[in-house]
C-alpha cells in the first residue's frame, strides 16, 4: 500500500533584499492513511514553510518552491495546475493555522466562513451549508451553536476561534489535516481541550494529521512519528517512543535536555545549547548544527550528512555516533 502523501526533496527559498533565504533544504517524508506525524523545531527551522509549500500557500515572490515533489494520491501537488489544486486544498487536505485571531475574516460571520467551504467544495446550497455548519460547530464543542453561527470572530475567545478553524478544516472530511502550531497562542487548559478534540475527531473521521509545533510536550502525547527540523533540514526521524527515549541526533538531545519537565524529581540544571540558530541566508554547505554541537568532528564542518537509518524506523543526519562518542552529553532521561 503506498503512502497517502510522499514528500521528496522539497526545497523552498525566499528571494529577499538581504539575500536568498534557504528556508527548506531538501526534506523527504511519507504520511500513511490515518497516521499522525509531528514536525518539531524552533522558530526558523522551516517547519511551517514546508507545509505551506505543500499546498502552495507561499507568496511568490518573494518565495519560490525550487525543487522536490509532493505526491498525493499519485499526483504531484507542486506541479498540479491551479484549478486541480483548488479541489485539493480545503477539501482533501485542510489546514488549521497558528493564530486564530488573524486567520479568520473579521467582517464575515462564522457561519459565512465555515459555509464557504461547504458551498464551494461540496456544492451545498446556503440552507444546507448553514445546517451542516451548525452541526460542525456542535461537533467541535461550541455551545449554543445555532445562535452563535451568526456571530463574528471578535465575539469568540481564542480557544473558541480555534475550534471554529478546526470546524472549517474538517467541514469537507479531509484525508489530511495539517495543524500549524494550533495551540501555541492558547492557554494550557484550552490547549488540552483542543488536543483532546482533534484526537477524538481523528478517531471518528480516520484522517491523517500533521501536527507542527515547537512544544516537545505536546508532541509526546499526540503523534506516532516525529520529524525534527533544523535550518531547513530533517535531522532526525523516529517513532515518538524512540525519539524521546533514544534520541540520536545532538540537536534532539540538546532540545530534550533544554525543556523542563513538570514531573522532574529534583532540581537539575537545564542543558543549554551554546550559540544561536544559523543565518539561513549564509548557510554553509556542511551540517548546519555543527558550530553549536558538542559532538562535532572535522567532517561535520565540511560535509552535510545524509539522513540515514541507525535502527529500524529511526534515521538521523549525523556523522557521529553519539552512543560511542566520549564528549560531554547532557542527561536526558531522569
Amino acid at each position: 500500500m503506498s503512502a497517502l502523501l510522499e514528500v521528496k526533496g522539497l526545497k523552498t527559498r525566499f528571494y529577499t533584499q538581504d539575500g536568498v533565504v534557504h528556508a527548506v533544504n531538501g526534506i523527504s517524508y511519507t504520511l500513511d492513511e490515518g497516521e499522525t506525524l509531528g514536525i518539531v523545531g524552533e522558530s526558523g527551522c522551516g517547519k511551517s514553510v514546508s507545509v505551506l509549500s505543500l499546498l502552495r500557500l507561499i507568496p511568490e515572490p518573494p518565495g519560490k518552491i525550487v525543487g522536490g515533489e509532493a505526491l498525493f494520491e499519485g499526483r504531484d501537488l507542486l506541479k498540479m495546475d491551479p484549478e486541480e489544486l483548488r479541489h485539493v486544498r480545503g477539501r482533501k487536505i485542510a489546514m488549521v493555522f497558528q493564530d486564530p485571531m488573524t486567520s479568520l475574516n473579521p467582517v464575515l460571520t462564522i457561519g459565512q466562513q465555515v459555509g464557504e467551504a461547504l458551498e464551494l467544495h461540496l456544492g451545498m446550497s446556503k440552507r444546507e451549508a448553514r445546517k451542516r455548519t451548525i452541526e460542525l460547530l456542535e461537533m467541535v464543542g461550541i455551545p449554543e451553536a445555532a445562535e452563535r453561527v451568526d456571530d463574528y470572530p471578535h465575539q469568540f475567545s481564542g480557544g473558541m476561534r480555534q475550534r471554529v478553524m478546526i470546524a472549517m478544516a474538517l467541514s469537507c472530511n479531509p484525508m489530511i489535516l495539517i495543524a500549524d502550531e494550533p495551540t501555541t497562542a492558547l492557554d494550557v487548559t484550552i490547549q488540552a481541550q483542543i488536543i483532546d478534540l482533534v484526537k477524538r475527531l481523528q478517531d471518528e473521521i480516520g484522517m491523517a494529521v500533521i501536527w507542527i509545533t515547537h512544544d516537545l510536550g505536546v508532541v509526546a502525547g499526540l503523534v506516532e512519528k516525529v520529524i525534527v527540523m533544523y535550518a531547513g533540514h530533517i535531522v532526525e526521524r523516529a517513532s515518538v517512543k524512540d525519539l524521546y527515549h533514544d534520541p540520536r541526533h545532538p540537536y534532539t538531545i540538546g532540545l530534550l535536555g533544554s525543556v523542563p519537565r513538570l514531573d522532574e524529581k529534583r532540581k537539575r540544571r537545564l542543558f543549554s545549547m551554546k550559540g544561536l540558530p544559523p543565518d539561513l541566508i549564509n548557510l554553509p554547505p556542511c551540517c548546519p548544527f555543527a558550530p553549536r554541537c558538542d559532538y562535532a568532528i572535522d567532517r561535520c564542518l565540511k560535509e552535510m550528512p545524509p539522513l540515514e537509518p541507525v535502527a529500524p524506523g529511526h534515521e538521523i543526519a549525523c556523522w557521529v555516533d553519539v552512543k560511542s562518542s566520549k564528549s560531554a552529553s547532557p542527561q536526558v532521561s531522569e
Binding site: M160, D187, G221, V259, L262, L270, F271
Partner: protein, 327 residues
C-alpha cells in the same frame, strides 16, 4: 518556622481594579475589571516564588502593583518591613534601587533609540550611583555577567536577537544590585533553547548575588523548575500556594489539579498513562466574576456552597495555603 527578618516582601490583601467607564464627556463609572482581587503572600530573601496562571488571571498586574508601577486599589505591600503603598516621590524612588523588573517582551522593553550601554547604564545615572568612566566600567561588567560581549556597548537593540535582548533586560535589572527582582514572563517570547540559557543565567545570578525572585509565567513546568514555592492564580485570586514538590504531589485545589493534568510532559510513555482533567468552557470575564468561589462555573467538583460563599484562603498544612470549600 518563619522568622520575621527572613521575609523581604509581604503582600496583604492586595487589590488592583481598573475602572470601566461609559461616555465621552461625562465618564460614568459603571464597573471594574478586578485584575487583582485580594492576594496575600510573602517572599523570603534569596527565595524564588513562582506565580503561575493562565492569561487574564492577574499575575502580571500583581507583579507591577507590588513594585508600585500601578498604585494599588487596596491592600498593602511591605518591603523590608516598610509600607510601599503609602510612599511616594523621593522615598519610593530610593526603594526602587532594591527592587527591579525584567519584562516579558524583549522587543518592547528596550528603547530602540538608546544604545545598549545607555540602557544598562541609565539606572546608574538616574540614581546617582555612577557617572562617566565609572559608569562605563560597571556597564561592561554587567554585560559580561549576562554573557554578552562588552564590545557591543554602542550597538542598538535591533542589532540583537530576542534572547540577547532579554539578557540586556537582565543586565539593566541588575545594575543597582537589587535584592528583589520581579521576572514577568522573562522567557515566554524566546525559543526553547534560549529559554534554557536565560533561566540558567537567572539561577546563577541568584546564587551569586543573593536575590529574591517573583517569577511570573504561564508555563507551569518552567515555573516549577526555577521556584522554591509556587502560587497558582485564577481570575484575580490565589487559589493555592505551597512549595514546588508539595504542589506537584499533593495539589488540593481543583484548578491546580486541572492545570497540572493539562501540562504536556515530553515523554510518550508517561503521556499515555495520564488522565486529563478537561475543564469546561472559558475563563469568565474579570469585569464580571462569578459569585461565591470564582472557579465554581468550571469546577468539576463544585458544591452548592461554592456558588454562594467565597472560600477563605487559609493555611491547611505546613506552609500550604488553599482557597477551597472542599479542603
Amino acid at each position: 518556622m518563619v522568622t520575621e527578618n527572613e521575609i523581604l516582601v509581604r503582600v496583604e490583601n492586595l487589590k488592583k481594579y481598573f475602572p470601566i467607564t461609559r461616555g465621552i464627556i461625562f465618564q460614568k463609572h459603571i464597573g471594574d475589571i478586578r485584575a487583582v482581587d485580594g492576594v496575600s503572600f510573602f517572599i523570603r530573601r534569596n527565595e524564588t516564588l513562582g506565580l503561575v496562571g493562565e492569561s487574564g488571571c492577574g499575575k502580571t498586574t500583581t507583579g507591577r502593583t507590588i513594585l508600585q508601577l500601578y498604585r494599588p486599589t487596596a491592600g498593602k505591600v511591605y518591603f523590608e518591613g516598610k509600607d510601599l503603598t503609602t510612599m511616594k516621590g523621593e522615598e519610593l524612588r530610593r526603594m526602587r534601587r532594591k527592587m527591579q523588573m525584567i519584562f516579558q517582551d524583549p522587543y518592547a522593553s528596550l528603547n530602540p533609540r538608546m544604545t545598549v550601554g545607555d540602557i544598562v547604564g541609565e539606572p546608574l545615572e538616574v540614581h546617582n550611583v555612577a557617572k562617566g568612566k565609572e559608569k562605563q566600567e560597571r556597564v561592561r561588567e554587567l554585560l559580561q555577567l549576562v554573557g554578552l560581549n562588552p564590545y557591543f556597548i554602542n550597538r542598538y537593540p535591533h542589532e540583537f536577537s530576542g534572547g540577547q535582548r532579554q539578557r540586556i533586560g537582565v543586565a539593566r535589572a541588575l545594575a543597582l544590585n537589587p535584592s528583589f527582582i520581579v521576572c514577568d514572563e522573562p522567557v515566554s517570547s524566546v525559543d526553547v533553547s534560549i529559554q534554557a540559557q536565560i533561566v540558567n543565567l537567572l539561577e546563577d545570578l541568584q546564587e551569586k548575588f543573593g536575590m529574591a525572585y517573583l517569577f511570573i509565567a504561564h508555563d507551569l513546568a518552567m515555573v516549577r523548575h526555577i521556584s522554591d514555592r509556587v502560587a497558582v492564580m485564577y481570575l484575580g485570586k490565589i487559589v493555592e500556594l505551597t512549595d514546588r514538590d508539595e504542589l506537584y504531589h499533593h495539589p488540593l485545589h481543583p484548578y491546580t489539579q486541572a492545570l497540572l493534568s493539562a501540562v504536556p510532559i515530553p515523554d510518550p510513555v508517561v503521556e499515555e498513562k495520564r488522565k486529563r482533567i478537561i475543564l469546561k468552557g472559558d475563563v469568565p470575564s474579570p469585569a464580571n466574576p462569578p459569585s461565591g468561589c470564582n472557579f465554581h462555573t468550571r469546577c468539576p467538583v463544585a458544591m452548592d456552597i461554592c456558588k454562594e460563599v467565597e472560600p477563605e484562603f487559609r493555611e491547611v498544612g505546613s506552609e500550604h495555603w488553599v482557597a477551597c470549600h472542599r479542603v
